[in-house]
């Protein structure tokens, strides 16, 4: 039990002393998580919007596929992306393997279904009168869609936050395609895995606390935003 308490004490010391390793890893993780979330939402939210608001042949199948992809094993995604980016793979010439862009690519694949499925669920739950009212007031199709998005904004924001949380906490794919290279592709999660395997419990706890802090901060911001909207 003492090693746990000691681990927490040293973790706090590492964070408070501004340890360069901890802050470098944290900065890289935030950069990767933000980039992946933005790219995944740019792709996933429009897909979710189309699936959630329009009627087309195969829509139910599309929803089922999206929901199934939520449970995609991260190591499988890592292996597939690794296969695509390795020197002999179709995109090997880009030289992206073991760079932070490779991690972004894997995280985007994991986060797109989250953004799409949660967006579809969000816009499906919106009162059909929203779009109809917009149309009766003279809105064109895009403005009417924007009205639906406006009414669903908190649910859409929640989709973004969940996607961000997923990519921030992901370890399997990041380890495979990033290689956990110090100062290049070492993220909070891969660093925690490495530190704990090396017995550096304090560093693992410190990085874990930073991860939790980031997740907490994002969720508090979401709560504050939602609270203001419902006031």
């Amino acid at each position: 039990m003492d090693f746990l308490i000691e681990g927490f004490r040293r973790a706090v010391q590492l964070i408070l002393s501004g340890d360069a390793d901890v802050f470098g890893i944290t900065a890289l993780s935030i950069k990767i998580a933000l980039s992946s979330t933005v790219l995944a939402c740019l792709v996933g939210i429009p897909i979710g919007f189309v699936v959630g608001t329009t009627r087309f042949w195969g829509r139910r199948a599309a929803l089922t596929v999206l929901n199934t992809m939520l449970a995609f094993p991260t190591v499988v995604v890592g292996v597939v992306i690794w296969g695509l980016l390795t020197r002999n793979g179709p995109f090997g010439g880009l030289g992206l393997l073991y760079t932070w862009w490779a991690i972004v690519a894997a995280e985007v694949v994991l986060a797109v279904p989250i953004a799409a499925a949660l967006t579809a669920a969000a816009v499906q739950s919106i009162d059909p009168r929203v779009r109809r009212t917009a149309l009766t007031l003279g809105a064109g199709p895009w403005r009417a869609h924007w009205a639906v998005a406006g009414e669903a904004r908190f649910a859409l924001l929640a989709a973004v936050v969940v996607a961000f949380g997923r990519v921030l906490a992901e370890v399997g794919a990041a380890m495979i395609v990033g290689g956990n290279i110090r100062n290049h592709t070492r993220t909070l999660t891969t660093a925690v895995a490495l530190a704990s395997s090396q017995g550096d419990f304090a560093l693992a706890i410190a990085l874990g606390l930073v991860l939790l802090g980031l997740a907490l901060t994002v969720n508090v911001l979401l709560q504050l935003f939602q609270g203001r909207g419902h006031a």
């Binding site: 009212t133 009766t136 007031l137 003279g138 406006g150």
Partner: protein, 331 residues
């Protein structure tokens, strides 16, 4: 102004509308009446170009509306206030501005129209309120004001006063009548028949998605002679006794629940007695039997199942309908 031709509409296999022809004249108020589920709301959504009919065509200002671009252009001059209107999240003013901006009206002109319309509708004090904090009646008033601010050529309203008190209702209809006088074509679907008959020049009665030649409420346009008190008006071969100070063109109604059905004439104070023959009997299963009777004009009377059994009525039975002159409603 707005015409519908051969409109058919289906929800799945169920046909909800089957209308041969309808015309709504410029600068008129038309009431659409009918029981729940008769197709009123569906008709209004189709006329507002937000729902496409399964078959049929709409003509606006002499131009057939066929393409997506036609429909968008049509929605810029037609607007609909739905039965349960929706206000977007935000303030009342933001809601009022939404449609104006969608139609290209911005800046100070848009704000001026918002202020003017809110004042006209008597809800200027709600301008800065969050739309989500309004009562049902206030939502309805704002939705009507939001539609009027657009200065539409065709204004469609579905039960616009269902949550309004009497003074608000009168105010709304006065505003609508003023819009009519400015040349706006107004179509109102309502259950509150007294109001719509009083304010509308014509009505469309729907029954099971089809236009019915007779209103379910025995409503007729008549010419009432000058004078006060007891009068007689002609309705085809029928002479109707009524009591009113109204003169000139008016709408009268013989409420189906007030018509007494008997199998022979009897002495009573009822000034109106019409002989007829039963054409159709419909039991709604909830204690009300509707009789359609040919009495020279088609009249509808409602009785209880026990009265039907006691009088041994069936299709083809001769009956006498009675109603007091004072029970004939004049609008």
């Amino acid at each position: 102004m707005l015409s519908a031709r051969g409109i058919e509409h289906h929800y799945g296999a169920r046909r909800v509308l089957d209308i041969d022809s309808l015309d709504f004249e410029t600068g008129s108020i038309t009431a659409v009446v009918g029981a729940n589920g008769s197709g009123k709301s569906t008709l209004l959504r189709i006329l507002a170009f937000v729902e496409m009919p399964t078959n049929g065509s709409l003509v606006l200002d002499g131009k057939p509306i066929r393409t997506r671009a036609d429909r968008l252009a049509a929605r810029r001059i037609v607007t609909l206030v739905e039965q349960r209107p929706f206000l977007f999240s935000g303030t009342v003013t933001a809601n009022m501005l939404y449609g104006l901006r969608a139609r290209g009206c911005r800046g100070s002109e848009a704000k001026r129209r918002v202020v003017e319309t809110l004042q006209l509708a008597g809800v200027a004090d709600l301008a800065d309120r969050d739309a989500r904090t309004l009562s049902e009646g206030e939502v309805q008033k704002i939705a009507v004001a939001r539609a009027l601010a657009l200065d539409p050529k065709v204004l469609l309203m579905d039960e616009p006063t269902s949550a309004a008190d009497r003074s608000s209702t009168n105010r709304l209809y006065q505003i609508v009548a003023e819009a009519r006088d400015r040349g706006v074509t107004v179509v109102i679907a309502s259950h509150q028949l007294e109001e719509v008959y009083r304010w509308s020049e014509s009505f469309v009665s729907l029954e099971g998605g089809r236009t019915s030649p007779v209103s379910p409420e025995n409503v007729f346009r008549v010419e009432i002679p000058a004078g006060t008190g007891s009068k007689e008006v002609r309705l085809g071969d029928l002479v109707i006794h009524l009591v009113t100070d109204t003169t000139g063109p008016a709408t009268i109604a013989l409420p189906p629940d007030d018509l007494i059905v008997s199998t022979g004439g009897f002495s009573s104070s009822a000034r109106n007695q019409f002989q007829g023959r039963i054409q159709r009997i419909t039991d709604d299963g909830r204690g009300r039997v509707t009789l359609r009777i040919d009495a020279g004009v088609e009249l509808v009377a409602r009785i209880t199942p026990s009265a039907l059994a006691e009088l041994a009525l069936s299709v083809g039975s001769p009956v006498v309908l009675s109603i007091k002159a004072m029970a004939v409603r004049v609008f």
